[in-house]
């Protein structure tokens, strides 16, 4: 079991929903409330040292509920390994989670992209604007499953 899983299990046992292993990738599925604390722990602890955020991805699992999840892919340059954190967002109508920009500056644009394309609200984000679609775009989020690929 990876050091990241052990650390999160030791410090935030109530936050873990599931540990998911597939093809050598480890994903820790957590509850969304403590995302900033868990990310800070994984970044600062010497045994995990995930100081680099690869990407933030939002996934829409419609028709399942909760339908939205946010996945964070972390990398440790010290141990040359990866871990993914995944949180399902409770509110299907107004999905939101705390921003991890205070942990990694790189999260800024990744979270803006998630907001822009999937409509996830990142609470505490310093500059949550649309990034890829035009600012005057009506309030729809193209990556959501109810949006057709053409002919809106």
């Amino acid at each position: 079991m990876s050091a990241a899983v052990e650390k999160v299990q030791a410090q935030f046992p109530d936050e873990i929903v599931e540990i998911y292993e597939f093809r050598g990738d480890t994903t820790i599925i957590i509850k969304p409330e403590k995302i900033v604390e868990i990310c800070t722990l994984l970044r600062d602890d010497r045994e995990t040292s995930f100081r680099y955020l690869s990407s933030v991805a939002a996934v829409d699992y419609l028709p399942a509920s909760p339908r939205f999840a946010v996945v964070y892919h972390l990398y440790s340059h010290r141990y040359k390994n990866r871990v993914a954190l995944k949180a399902f967002l409770e509110d299907d109508a107004y999905p939101s989670i705390h921003s991890v920009v205070p942990v990694w500056s790189a999260a800024n644009w990744h979270e803006r992209e998630c907001y822009d394309l999937m409509g996830i609200q990142f609470r505490g984000h310093p500059d949550l604007r649309r990034i890829l679609t035009p600012a005057e775009c009506e309030a729809y989020f193209p990556l959501r499953k109810e949006i057709p690929v053409r002919g809106l």
Partner: protein
């Protein structure tokens, strides 16, 4: 007294750089707030080339996604293909034969050289050096000819397929690659003679856009951008894929983290890529190029024409697509511009549930505002050049 006060008051000016501007390498708009020549704030405005590739992937079979990945970073099409096919192969749990992996490495490294040559030419040109553009494009044109031999086109390869390759290498290809590999190191010397000790070049690049290693990690920089600051990280060496562990190469590092060091790093990377290509040519094994799994690889054409099972097999893969199990994978490769990652979520059907592309240009460009602050407007051109962005990669 009053007059002096009025004199000292300054107003900032907002200037739009782009979206159509020769030095933005595509349709990038930077809203720059200037105080005289100094940049107070630079805010990149992207999305002019957003085509919704991630959305389109959800409505296609895995094979049909492949031509879309050509168009992520169009200067390094094969690198995108490699990232995507490796991610799908990871999802499927298959490994392609050794010959295929070696050919993929060779093409990926030639692509890296071609991408870096394009960067060298345009970056030099942006900063007033005209000749490197002609020199670099001369060699890039040779690579384009080589690529044309393999996949019939120049920019959009689609040569790597899920579970193998579209076809084996054409006859006479390796001889021509040998010719390129033998002559290319001398050409790099020519480029370096033009720029490395050029006083104007040094004045324009040294100390411009400095990132410390800590900042590099915080901002999520990867590839040559991170190595220019001395972050010793190369996915080919540290998390090898496609048998990169079989090859001997050096990961060049900068020390100052400025535009000049990133230039030196990329120059050395071209030499190292050339070395890797040489090693592939020396050790290229014979054998199959596709996995032997009929659910993944298309059967050979002569069998499709003469055998009903092979015909059905071909039909199923084309019509229904490859059907991976339910699961989620993340696969990253060292693309010419940095870490290119594919996060694929599968719901067990022939179409991906979600494809997330972690594009290196997007992550690298995010720090532009931070680097440009307090610098001269002319430095912004150097910064955009050193980031080696492709707007198709940024916007996807």
């Amino acid at each position: 007294m009053n007059g002096a006060q009025t004199m000292s008051q300054t107003e900032t000016m907002v200037l739009n750089l782009g979206p159509q501007h020769p030095s933005t390498h595509g349709v990038l708009r930077v809203v720059v707030e200037l105080e005289g020549e100094l940049i107070v704030k630079a805010d990149p405005d992207i999305g002019y080339l957003h085509r919704g590739i991630e959305k389109m992937c959800e409505f296609r079979t895995y094979h049909q996604c492949l031509p879309l990945t050509d168009r992520i970073d169009y200067l390094a099409g094969s690198a995108n293909n490699l990232g995507f096919v490796l991610a799908v192969e990871k999802l499927l749990g298959v490994e392609v034969p050794k010959r295929c992996q070696y050919i993929r490495v060779m093409i990926a490294e030639l692509t890296r050289i071609s991408s870096h040559l394009f960067w060298l030419g345009t970056h030099g040109h942006d900063l007033g050096a005209m000749t490197p553009l002609f020199y670099a494009f001369r060699e890039r044109e040779k690579l384009m000819d080589l690529f044309e031999m393999v996949w019939g086109g120049r920019l959009f390869p689609c040569y790597f397929r899920i579970g193998g390759l579209a076809a084996d290498l054409p006859e006479g290809f390796t001889d021509q690659v040998w010719e390129f590999v033998e002559t290319f190191p001398k050409k790099i010397e020519d480029y370096e003679n033009l720029l490395t000790y050029n006083r104007i070049w040094i004045a324009r690049t040294k100390g411009v856009g400095v990132m410390t290693p800590d900042e590099v990690l915080d901002w999520g920089w990867s590839g040559p951008m991170a190595r220019g600051s001395g972050v010793d990280w190369d996915l080919r060496r540290d998390n090898p894929y496609s048998r990169y562990e079989d090859f001997d190469f050096v990961v060049p590092l900068g020390s100052n983290g400025d535009t000049y060091d990133r230039y030196l790093v990329r120059m050395e990377e071209m030499r190292q890529s050339n070395r890797i290509v040489r090693q592939v040519l020396e050790n290229l094994p014979a054998g199959d190029i596709n996995v032997a799994d009929p659910r993944v690889a298309l059967p050979p054409k002569e069998r499709v024409y003469n055998n009903i099972e092979a015909l059905i097999n071909h039909f199923l893969i084309i019509e229904e697509g490859i059907i991976p199990p339910v699961g989620e994978v993340y696969q990253a490769i060292e693309a010419p511009k940095g870490e290119l990652g594919f996060y694929i979520a599968s719901d067990g059907t022939g179409h991906p549930l979600r494809v997330k592309i972690r594009a290196p240009s997007f992550a690298n460009l995010a720090a532009l505002g931070k680097l440009a602050k307090g610098r001269l407007l002319a430095d912004l051109i150097a910064l955009i050049g050193t980031m080696d962005i492709v707007l198709a990669d940024v916007d996807r």
